[in-house]
């Protein structure tokens, strides 16, 4: 899952980025409101963590601006402003969750996963498609109750497919979901990962739509 982190404090931003990476997120970090708004408009982030006291443009103003333009990226507001009216204002402006600093990294990660799940209409923590079950919290994948070992990228790719099950995703969309800034992407990286996924999970799960992209089928195809 690729996350945009908007936090002006150097030490906190660095800590959150490192911590969220440990927990399996791809994190892009911006340090002011204008950059945050620009990135949220440019990229389809899975979710965003937004500080409110940002320089150049206040976090709430960023939130209001993107919501006005119907950018529905789930946003978790991470702030020191803890009074009830401020929480209400944050949520009413379009935040999906409101967390007061300091926050436990595991809790932050769990809240982000929950945000993403809700945004994709998934009531359960685990994602399922056919006989494959993906647990984002423990980062494990089981097929017919047998654990299938996947690499980080393979896991992230499968998660991206499962969150958008039944929809065709282009190679560019998948790359944007998988890689944060500064990570080199081989031109055939996605193909390689999909090949590996098919090898480990069978060829019935992910279909190629020529000239468009790939799609994960939720139900087992009728023979």
């Amino acid at each position: 899952m690729r996350i945009l982190l908007a936090e002006d404090d150097a030490l906190l931003g660095d800590g959150l980025r490192a911590g969220l990476r440990q927990l399996g997120f791809q994190v892009d970090w911006v340090r002011d409101g204008e950059a945050a708004e620009r990135e949220l408009r440019a990229q389809p982030y899975t979710a965003a963590v937004l500080d409110l006291g940002l320089p150049r443009k206040d976090g709430l103003a960023v939130l209001a601006a993107i919501r006005q333009d119907h950018i529905a990226t789930p946003v978790l507001v991470l702030t020191a402003r803890d009074t009830v009216p401020e929480r209400i204002r944050g949520l009413d402006t379009g935040a999906d969750d409101y967390v007061v600093k300091p926050v436990d990294l595991h809790e932050l990660a769990a809240r982000l996963r929950a945000l993403v799940r809700r945004a994709h209409g998934q009531p359960q923590e685990c994602l399922t498609a056919q006989d494959v079950v993906l647990d984002p919290a423990s980062r494990t994948v089981r097929q017919a109750d047998v654990v299938v070992p996947l690499s980080t990228r393979e896991f992230d790719l499968l998660q991206a497919f499962m969150l958008s099950a039944g929809r065709v995703l282009s190679r560019e969309q998948l790359e944007q979901q998988l890689y944060s800034w500064g990570q080199e992407v081989d031109s055939n990286a996605i193909e390689v990962h999909i090949h590996n996924l098919r090898r480990k999970l069978g060829s019935q799960l992910i279909h190629t739509v020529r000239g468009v992209g790939y799609m994960l089928q939720r139900e087992t195809p009728v023979a």
Binding site: L11, L12, G15, A18, G19, Q22, R81, E86
Partner: protein
């Protein structure tokens, strides 16, 4: 609420009624004296005239045949019993009114004296006029009971006092109504204030406020406004403080958690270093906050004579290693001693904040110059740098608590300027921020007023 010990309305009513009643009484007293005087003159005149008639009559009619027995004159009017006369001839009573005594009414066997006299006859006071007849052996007395004069006077006085006695309650009622109406705006103001929520700070707006009350309402509204802005700034301070205090702690927590979860040794050490840095930052912030709150709470600090140049030299020496570390050139121009009165510790904090800011916010290899100048009794401390300077809008916001210049990577508390301003103000110094003409960056000027400074010997 305290009980209303003095009702304005009651006081006004009592005062006005008191004044009216006093004036009225004084008028009555004056009328009484005046009337009595006039009445006395008139009735005395009548007595004298009656005596004159008796003297004339006696001269023409009093015959020797009537000697010894006297003549009683008839009583012709209801006032007649109150008037009496006697005519004596050669010491014997020749004629008298029926109510006159046998003895002369005045003089009482002593020397006869012509003129007016007030005497007691039969327990009543009489006004008697005595006169000689045409010859000296005839004496005429005409008397009148003074009681009848008092009756007339009372009648006059009654006509003055009676309307007043009737009018006073009516006047009181009318006054009560008029005053009640006049103090209505004051009552309205009191009611409006009493009905407001205790924390309401919106301005009062009253219909038909009289001119006399306008300053009061204006002053109240001014007060409400000041309190509102004070509360707003306190609210903002609390919000800012919560942000500034929570963020370093959040950073420490995040970095510590990263260190716990990190498997790579180098990354873990880095996270632990970051944790320590976060602690240092939190300590710096707490120190600054404490300094500021002590400054804001304390009264005037203890002042003593000190050498500003020496103080600045010490501070620059303390900060120099940091500047050298950034490859900056830090110069000091404070050769001459400059004595001034001030608090050594606070001034050191002020100077350190200024020099530290210059080092912090100027890039590597920047020039920073600190100077203490003294001319015409004016001492100026200058801190200039060749850094990026500050736009006008940001210059104005310096000194707002927790304001940090946007776009800088440096970690400050955002309190340094508030502290510097506060220290400058207790020393009656002015703080001025400008563009450095020579170095191109920021120039901060601290001006010490003439009384506080003097050239050292």
């Amino acid at each position: 609420m305290t009980p209303a010990s003095h009702s304005l309305q009651r006081r006004l009513l009592m005062l006005v009624l008191g004044v009216v009643a006093s004036v009225w009484l004084a008028t009555a007293v004056m009328t009484w004296f005046d009337a009595r005087h006039e009445l006395d003159e008139l009735l005395d005149g009548h007595l004298a005239q009656a005596a004159a008639i008796l003297v004339l009559q006696q001269g023409q009619e009093l015959g020797d045949d009537n000697h010894g027995q006297g003549v009683d004159a008839p009583s012709l009017h209801r006032y007649a019993p109150k008037v009496a006369f006697q005519v004596f001839h050669e010491g014997r009573l020749a004629m008298r009114s029926a109510n006159a005594p046998q003895q002369p009414m005045a003089g009482a066997n002593k020397h006869f004296k012509a003129g007016f006299e007030t005497v007691q006859i039969g327990g009543a006071a009489w006004r008697v006029f005595s006169a000689y007849g045409s010859e000296n052996d005839v004496q005429v007395y005409v008397g009148e009971e003074t009681h009848s004069r008092a009756n007339i006077l009372w009648a006059v006085l009654r006509s003055t006092l009676l309307p007043m006695a009737v009018a006073l309650p009516l006047l009181a009622l009318a006054l009560w109504w008029a005053i009640h109406r006049s103090v209505a705006p004051i009552r309205l103001l009191g009611l409006t204030l009493a009905r407001r929520r205790p924390d309401a700070l919106d301005p009062l707006s009253l219909d038909g406020t009289p001119a006399e009350m306008a300053p009061m309402v204006d002053a109240l509204n001014g007060l409400f406004q000041r309190i509102a802005s004070l509360l707003e700034s306190e609210r903002r301070f609390t919000a800012d403080a919560s942000h500034e205090l929570r963020t370093p702690i959040a950073a420490i927590r995040a970095q510590a958690q990263v260190a716990l979860g990190e498997t790579d040794e180098a990354s873990r050490r880095q996270a632990l270093h970051n944790t320590l840095e976060g602690c240092d930052r939190a300590i710096h912030l707490v120190d600054q906050l404490l300094t500021l709150s002590r400054l804001e709470a304390s009264a005037v600090p203890v002042m003593a004579e000190l050498d500003l140049s020496a103080l600045v030299r010490q501070v620059v020496a303390d900060v120099a290693p940091k500047a050298i570390g950034k490859g900056q050139s830090l110069e000091l121009d404070a050769a001459e001693p400059v004595t001034m009165s001030g608090n050594m510790i606070l001034l050191a904090v002020l100077v350190r904040n200024l020099v530290d800011n210059a080092v912090r916010y100027s890039p590597r290899a920047a020039r920073i110059r600190v100077a203490v100048q003294h001319s015409n009794g004016q001492v100026t401390l200058r801190v200039e740098d060749s850094g990026p300077g500050l736009p006008e809008a940001d210059r104005k916001r310096l000194g707002e608590r927790f304001f940090r210049v946007p776009g800088t990577d440096e970690v400050g508390s955002g309190l340094g300027w508030s502290i510097a301003r506060r220290i400058a103000s207790v020393h009656h110094m002015t703080l001025q921020v400008d563009r450095s003409a020579e170095l191109g960056g920021l120039a901060v000027l601290v001006n010490v007023t003439a009384q506080g400074a003097g050239r050292g010997n």
